[in-house]
């Protein structure tokens, strides 16, 4: 493979502690190496440019059944954004729910190399893998959802922890999944009857267990299994005024818990799109930001990580395994509603949404997402996301960065809101003069996320030995003054090296790369009880046979990358 020497760039790498120093980065045989290891490298002149490891997205909805519902039921989402194929590029289109090709290209153009699909219904794992297989460039993995799974609910209710662990191990292997995702624990099962669990103590109908027990039990199982990522939570009561109390209650469930793994992960729980979970007030009339209370807690408890879920003030398509929430949303905005309840496992809903700058609540939501980041004391634990496409499309990350790095830019946005004064009154944003640095941005978009995923030995830094995933941005931190340059530069990477190969050059896709699909194989002791239970459930309640459930690695995955964990001790 080719050798590259990226010379004289301003390097930002929180893992190595490099904060804008000029340095050369060497890549050989797909990996980062010391520059002395190169013999005849191609030189990339990065003078006056910013150099970081490629981005790692911990949470986005980019592949699978609900994403494809979003594409197929919104032809209007393709207006004015279709691109013809060119060179190695396939045709691409779609705004809030881009086609798989456009997803790969847009992420690569932002300098991202790894993206995790945040919710995979196990019965639809094959579909999720088919879409990931067709998504170019990006290394990907998918989190199967566990929080409403009948096996999990029954085992946890009976306090059969070994059985929970054996079942998780089986499901991760069978679906080629990466981590334990929990969405509206218990509430989505309740949705099977049109009901919900609005607090973490509401019992789940029939199963007689609470969301708190589900989350705590899955966290214990996750640590016993020593998985690379922690449990990944979207707690109950999303999107409702006053829900910050539910969020804090969820956080507190894990107090004192310690991580147990060999992957360098330091948290026992990742809470996703916290913006949607940080509302005070008791109605839409008096909803207000509680980012302060949320971040006070996060800052003082280092066994958790979180991502933002920033609202970007776009028209978008919401989609989540929180089935009852999507019904609530369609009742609110009266736009079209798709829902799919999945036997024994989960549900999902999809509803278009317009985050209008003319609506007060949307402005408040926009502000809260930014406040969470600006109040964060440890950027290695607080990550930039938009919960794509729920709060906005992922290709707005550079715009979010602009707002976070420039008070002037966010004040300009604030001023353009129709209800700017009311938004100011209900939020803290205008009082925050912090401007994040590129060093902090690098932590929030690559170093921190790679560590939280247990992938710090592959991604997130420019340390020799890691994957040759390097992004170069045409942004000079010493001279750039206009915040618009941030958005422009980080939307159009000058270079992206993926696995040691140039895939983006001058903002243009020049290769489809050689993507990997990551999954976790956790070995546990043989468990005849769980084997028997699986066989029985498939015979009696599933509509596919047990033998037809497993995802065939050879057919459905591109370059499968198995991460082995031994939890048999």
């Amino acid at each position: 493979m080719a050798e590259y020497l990226i010379k004289n760039g301003f390097v930002f790498d929180p893992v190595l502690g490099i904060n804008g120093d000029k340095a050369d980065i060497a890549v050989k045989d797909g990996k980062i190496v010391e520059s002395t290891a190169l013999s005849n490298p191609q030189v990339i002149d990065a003078a006056g440019k910013t150099v970081m490891a490629a981005g790692v997205d911990i949470h986005a909805h980019v592949a699978g059944p609900k994403v494809n519902v979003g594409r197929n039921f919104r032809p209007e989402d393709k207006l004015f954004n279709c691109e013809a194929g060119k060179g190695v590029r396939r045709m691409a289109g779609g705004f809030s729910v881009p086609t798989v090709f456009r997803t790969g290209y847009l992420y690569a153009r932002m300098g991202y190399g790894t993206v995790m699909e945040a919710a995979m219904p196990p019965l639809y794992a094959r579909h999720t893998h088919e879409e990931m297989r067709d998504t170019p460039i990006l290394d990907q993995g998918a989190y199967p959802v566990f929080g409403n799974n009948w096996f999990v609910l029954e085992y946890l209710k009976n306090n059969e922890m070994e059985n929970v662990e054996a079942y998780i191990s089986w499901l991760l292997r069978t679906t080629r999944g990466y981590a334990i995702k929990i969405v509206n624990p218990g509430g989505t099962e309740a949705w099977g009857w049109g009901l919900n669990c609005n607090s973490i103590h509401d019992p789940v109908p029939y199963f007689d267990i609470t969301p708190a027990q589900i989350m705590k039990g899955l966290m214990d199982a996750n640590e016993a299994l020593r998985l690379p990522h922690s449990i990944h939570i979207h707690t109950n009561n999303l999107g409702n005024p006053g829900n910050f109390e539910t969020t804090l209650e969820t956080f507190k469930l894990f107090e004192g818990a310690k991580p147990n793994n060999d992957f360098g992960r330091k948290q026992v729980m990742h809470h996703t799109h916290v913006q949607f979970h940080s509302y005070g007030g008791d109605s839409w009339a008096n909803v207000e930001s509680k980012a302060d209370e949320i971040m006070n807690y996060v800052n003082s408890h280092d066994n958790m990580t979180m991502d933002l879920g920033c609202v970007t003030l776009d028209e978008t398509t919401t989609m989540t395994a929180d089935g009852p929430f999507e019904h609530h949303l369609t009742e609110l905005n009266h736009l079209k509603w798709a829902n799919t309840d999945v036997e024994l496992e989960t549900a999902a809903g999809v509803v278009p949404y317009v985050y209008s700058p003319n609506i007060k609540v949307c402005g408040i939501q926009w502000a809260i997402g930014l406040e969470l980041a600006l109040m964060a004391k440890d950027p290695m634990r607080v990550f930039i996301t938009t919960d794509h496409p729920n709060a906005g499309p992922f290709f707005r990350y550079p715009r979010v960065m602009k707002w976070l790095m420039s008070q002037k830019a966010r004040e300009a946005q604030m001023d353009s809101l129709k209800w700017a004064e009311k938004v100011r009154g209900a939020t803290f944003l205008s009082g925050l003069d912090r401007e994040l640095t590129l060093y902090e941005i690098a932590a929030m978009t690559r170093a921190g996320t790679a560590q939280a995923l247990g992938l710090a030995d592959m991604y997130g830094s420019l340390k020799p030995g890691l994957q040759g995933d390097v992004a170069v941005y045409d942004y000079n931190p010493e001279t750039a003054e206009d915040p618009e340059l941030i958005e422009k530069a980080f939307s159009n990477a000058a270079y992206l090296l993926k696995g040691g190969e140039v895939v983006v050059k001058d903002g243009e896709i020049v290769s489809n790369g050689n993507k990997k699909t990551l999954w976790v194989d956790a070995k546990v002791n043989d468990n005849p009880q769980v084997r028997r239970d699986i066989t029985e459930k498939f015979l009696r309640y599933y509509t596919v046979t047990e033998a037809n459930y497993e995802v065939n690695e050879k057919v459905f995955m591109k370059n499968p990358y198995r991460i082995e964990v031994d939890a048999t001790q």
Binding site: N72, M91, G94, V97, H127, W193, K336, N339, R540, N552
Partner: protein, 438 residues
């Protein structure tokens, strides 16, 4: 010694039953028996064993005489035809696997074709309605485990989806439905007294083509508002009773078929049916599901969706994906004379399109890829016989509830025969050569 292959997936209808067992000969070439399948599914497996099966591509000359050609010639003719055409139509895709669909889509992209599947003449109206109002739905296991109110509207599963009622909807005992059909209420809406209708608790024998009115009336009745004495030939009291039956259920499912998608009002019927389902969610849990016909028509919509963003009628001829049913749909293009070559794989428009469309196909350079000689091959210039997907070739297919299942290979195809995907890959390679694409 014979052997039994288990967990076989049936490549016939959208029910995609995956519990078949097939007895094959020791050498893996002969299917001897098929267990658990319905009569149609059984026939599909056994038919692959027909002694007079086509194995060699054939071309038709201007006088209508057929002569055998090599696979290489067939590949070249197909590639040249697609590359020479300004706007070829690549139609079908519903009786093949997603891998073949994906390869076909890539060819279509390079040659600037219109890709359309059989939804264009069956549930395309449903897909349009979903774009209007969405679709609250569920998997078939939810129906089995929870549903106690089942509506079949304009469909006849007893004949068209023969195992649907026994596997999923009426008879099975699920987790919360331990009494099976005894605790389910079954409503059928159909102008005909079908075998499905005869089994129903209530058969609303609607006047032909009046579905929109009856669906509207049910929405009115669900809200408890006044109704005229009869609607669509159904007495007010019956409508009110049915509305009450649905509202009092714990989990309602409406299944609907071409009796309502292809009658007057088309997608507007489905808009109304989906809206009724939405309304019912105010009172209980309700879902709706189209009774998809071909075993992988759903898959074609999915693959087109993630690759181009639209589920059918995708026009790639301008270099980017366009979608406009009524304009970019197969019959409209054919009847307006807007396409100049036709490629058919995995369906039979010769049997199902209007004669005016079929005549157009007969006048154009055309290819039919199908294991059988069909009415479509009769009007095409080239017939390319291939292996049976789901019998002689594995690959992914999507059930009517969008659940993907990997079909299984049960027997070897006759020697020298290629699969849909293999044929398309050869065409793709040739197309790239002709177009000079890397």
């Amino acid at each position: 010694m014979t052997k039994i292959v288990t967990d076989v997936v049936c490549p016939f209808c959208g029910t995609l039953c995956d519990d078949l067992e097939v007895k094959v000969s020791d050498d893996g070439t002969q299917i001897l028996e098929v267990y658990n399948a319905c009569v149609i599914g059984t026939e599909k497996f056994l038919h692959s064993q027909a002694k007079d099966r086509l194995k060699v591509p054939q071309m038709q000359d201007e006088e209508g005489n057929w002569k055998d050609v090599s696979i290489d010639d067939a590949v070249d003719y197909t590639a040249q035809m697609l590359c020479n055409a300004k706007k070829p139509l690549m139609y079908g895709w519903s009786s093949t696997n997603c891998e073949a669909q994906s390869t076909g889509n890539e060819i279509a992209e390079i040659v600037g074709a219109v890709v359309d599947n059989t939804a264009t003449v069956c549930h395309g109206t449903t897909l349009i309605a979903v774009q209007d109002v969405g679709v609250p739905s569920c998997t078939l296991g939810e129906v089995k485990n929870r549903a106690d109110r089942i509506v079949f509207w304009g469909c006849n599963p007893a004949h068209a989806h023969p195992r649907h009622m026994s596997r999923y909807s009426i008879f099975p005992r699920g987790f919360f439905t331990g009494k099976g059909h005894k605790a389910r209420k079954m409503v059928v809406v159909d102008p005909r007294s079908t075998d499905t209708a005869k089994m129903a608790d209530v058969h609303m024998q609607i006047e032909q083509g009046r579905d929109y009115e009856l669906l509207s009336a049910l929405r009115v009745a669900v809200r408890g508002a006044p109704l005229p004495e009869t609607v669509a030939g159904i007495p007010r009291e019956t409508i009110q009773d049915v509305a009450e039956t649905l509202k009092s259920g714990r989990f309602v499912v409406i299944f609907f078929g071409m009796g309502v998608t292809q009658t007057l009002s088309k997608n507007h019927n489905i808009d109304m049916a989906i809206s009724l389902t939405r309304d019912l969610n105010e009172y209980t849990k309700a879902a709706i599901m189209p009774m998809r016909g071909h075993y992988n028509v759903t898959g074609s919509g999915q693959v087109l969706g993630w690759q181009f963003g639209f589920p059918f009628c995708v026009d790639l001829s301008r270099g980017f994906a366009r979608y406009n049913p009524g304009d970019s749909s197969s019959n409209d293009l054919l009847r307006r004379g807007e396409v100049d070559a036709v490629f058919v794989l995995g369906s039979d428009p010769g049997a199902h399109f209007p004669i005016s469309s079929v005549k157009k196909i007969a006048q154009l350079p055309s290819v039919c890829v199908d294991p059988h000689h069909t009415p479509t091959s009769a009007v095409c210039k080239l017939h390319m016989p291939v292996a049976f997907v789901g019998v002689e070739e594995a690959g992914c297919a999507y059930r009517m509830d969008n659940v993907p299942i990997e079909t299984r290979k049960v027997v070897e195809a006759p020697e020298g025969m290629v699969s849909d995907e293999e044929f398309l890959k050869m065409v793709l390679t040739r197309v790239k050569e002709i177009k000079g694409v890397a």
